[in-house]
């Protein structure tokens, strides 16, 4: 599903160049649930941004579902993002003047689906995250956990190949975190490929594979026994 070879990325910080990713080799098969771990500055968010086509690598190759991701213009990148990827952010990033339902339906709008289909699908995914009754509520009327569940539903709505979650539990307390992880595990059980960036060990343990990043290189890549989040909920 994801094939990365010798990925490099540096940022210009004034006169200094900051080499963030120093040759990442990494592949993800369909149906995997991968945790990317590392301390701040280890390059994990940069990696995720490159995977999410929000940022571009300086060197190396990146194949997503056998499609080379290189030198895309913004329009093409937007189309690929819409088609291949679902994003879940730490700060939820819901559009605050749209209801939960409208937020979930937004990727479908950019897929040019008609209104009826959008509403139907969005309701379906809201049901999946257990928020059917909150469909007409604005984000400001939802709790943090509920907002993140809406965000997950939105990420799923376009039926992407890969779900990218950047610290999805970073702004949540542990109980809520486990609820969110429970949902993520449920989605993975249905076969969706998911990448989770986190720095919390207990969240990482709920994935099937943990990739450790340190100073821009992968220092550890191991399969783990998945801890089911449902036992904490």
């Amino acid at each position: 599903m994801i094939e990365i070879k010798d990925l490099h990325k540096s940022y210009q910080m004034g006169s200094n160049s900051l080499h963030v990713l120093k040759g990442i080799n990494f592949s993800v098969k369909e149906g995997e649930l991968v945790a990317i771990m590392g301390s701040s500055g280890s390059g994990k968010s940069t990696l995720l941004n490159i995977l999410g086509m929000l940022d571009e690598a300086d060197g190396g190759s990146y194949f997503l579902d056998n499609v080379p991701i290189k030198g895309l213009n913004e329009t093409k990148a937007a189309q690929y993002r819409n088609k291949f990827l679902g994003f879940v952010f730490q700060s939820f990033n819901l559009i605050n003047y749209k209801t939960a339902l409208e937020n979930v339906a937004l990727p479908l709008y950019y897929q040019r689906k008609n209104r009826k289909e959008r509403t139907e699908k969005a309701m379906n995914y809201l049901g999946k995250v257990g928020l059917t009754n909150w469909a007409t509520h604005l984000p400001s009327e939802l709790s943090g956990g509920q907002k993140q569940r809406v965000a997950i539903a939105r990420a799923l709505a376009a039926d992407p190949k890969v779900l990218l979650a950047d610290e999805p539990t970073g702004a949540l307390d542990s109980t809520t975190s486990y609820e969110v992880m429970d949902i993520i595990q449920g989605i993975n059980d249905e076969g969706k490929t998911i990448l989770v960036v986190t720095h919390e060990q207990d969240i990482a343990n709920m994935c099937k594979r943990i990739v450790h990043l340190k100073d821009g290189v992968i220092v550890e890549d191991k399969e783990v026994e998945q801890v089911r989040a449902s036992q904490y909920v």
Partner: protein, 421 residues
């Protein structure tokens, strides 16, 4: 461009506009105010213009007055200082020789320029007033309002030398009680009985008549005051497509020939020409219209710039939202299109609102003024095409100004937009 016609696009825009009420209102107020002022100023200028024009129309803009003076150059054995007396022969000569003339009306008066006024007697009251001898055409040149039930002198009065008169409003007030019937009654002028056929009121300031004069049929006047074929002066209106200044030159040349006056004598005949005065007023009105347009258009531009400004701030505010949209698959073209459509829609709606409120105000003013002659505003309207043009241009301006925030929205990379806290 297909997306413009899709319902979903507009629903997205409607959602964004509706949920950002305060900025929408602020934005709209700027342009609404601009268009409102534009329509209002244009309407008032038009009203003033109409009012001036209606006054001058009553006075027939292409009109001159002509009278005899004294010669200043000796000619053909006549010494200088000879007094020129215009007669009906001159009127006939001009009428037959000058094609430019639309109307020509000889006039005679007593009570002006040292001649004795007429003695007006009704019952036990009497008074002295100016008396004019006139043709019906004079009413075409300097319009008078004739009160209900009355009429002005007509051709029959002239033909039969009828002893009828039209009296001024002021005389009526002095000699008649309120609600007393005036038309058809008899009065004495210089000892001769006249039937009153009308009461007039001048519709514009100026002129010799005022509201305390008496009008008699020209022929009657000539007989009673022993004038023979002599006249005091004449009023000449040129045809609409002729220049009264040229006509004046032609007429004077003919008169000089008829009266054996030296061709270079500028003193023999006096004249007053309304054309020049009106040109001045027209210049003033044109200048005012120009100022109105400049102020109006400047206000519009200010309004549209305000929209651009607000949208720019909004884009800054919505950076995150735009980043999210782009992460979810919005292409730069879609983001740009949305911001620009928001700008266009806001300017258009605001413009329409301003137009409607401006028109309502003009309508209100028109209704309030009615036919009040004291206020120099008549029928304040705006030209339909001026308004449509203004609306189109603000929509165009809105589009152009919308480009700035739209470009700004697109220029921010989604990753930077998402990083924004």
């Amino acid at each position: 461009m297909k997306f413009i016609f899709e319902r979903d696009t507009w629903q997205e825009i409607y959602g964004a506009i509706r949920k950002n009420k305060i900025r929408t209102i602020i934005t709209v107020i700027g342009v609404t105010w601009g268009v409102f002022l534009f329509v209002f100023l244009l309407g008032m200028a038009k009203g003033l213009d109409n009012s001036f024009r209606s006054q001058f129309n009553d006075f027939a803009t292409n009109t001159m007055f002509l009278w005899g003076q004294q010669t200043s150059i000796p000619n053909e054995g006549f010494k200088r200082g000879r007094r020129m007396q215009l007669t009906l022969d001159d009127v006939e000569a001009l009428e037959s020789q000058v094609d430019d003339i639309e109307y020509i009306a000889p006039r005679n008066v007593t009570g002006q320029w040292g001649t004795p006024p007429g003695q007006f007697v009704r019952g036990s009251k009497s008074g002295a007033f100016k008396v004019f001898g006139d043709y019906p055409t004079i009413d075409k040149v300097s319009k008078k309002k004739i009160f209900d039930g009355g009429r002005f002198i007509n051709e029959e009065d002239i033909k039969y030398e009828r002893k009828v008169c039209v009296i001024g409003e002021d005389i009526y007030k002095q000699f008649y009680d309120k609600d007393e019937e005036v038309i058809g009654g008899f009065v004495r002028i210089n000892g001769i009985y006249f039937k009153v056929i009308g009461v007039y009121k001048p519709t514009q300031a100026g002129g010799f008549e005022g509201d305390d004069s008496i009008f008699l049929p020209f022929t009657t006047f000539q007989t009673i005051f022993n004038q023979g074929r002599n006249i005091s002066w004449m009023v000449i209106t040129a045809k609409a497509d002729k220049n009264i200044v040229n006509t004046e030159t032609i007429i004077k040349t003919i008169l000089k020939r008829e009266h054996n006056v030296h061709p270079d004598d500028t003193q023999a005949f006096g004249s007053f020409n309304l054309g020049e005065e009106i040109a001045k007023v027209n210049g003033f009105l044109g200048g005012m219209r120009l100022i109105t347009y400049i102020v109006g258009i400047a206000t519009l531009i200010a309004g549209v710039i305000a929209i651009g400004n607000v949208l720019l701030i909004t884009v800054k505010e919505r950076t995150r939202e735009i980043g999210v949209r782009r992460a979810l698959g919005a292409t730069p073209a879609e983001v740009r299109g949305q911001i620009m459509l928001e700008s266009i829609l806001l300017t258009f709606l605001a413009g329409l609102l301003g137009f409607i409120s401006g028109t309502l105000l003009l309508w209100g003013i028109n209704t309030a003024i009615g036919n009040n002659d004291d206020i120099p505003i008549l029928n304040p309207t705006v030209d339909f095409f001026a308004v449509v043009g203004a609306l189109l241009s603000i929509v165009l301006l809105g589009t152009l100004i919308g480009l700035i925030p739209a470009q700004k929205a697109v220029s921010i990379k989604p990753i930077e937009a998402l990083r924004e806290e």
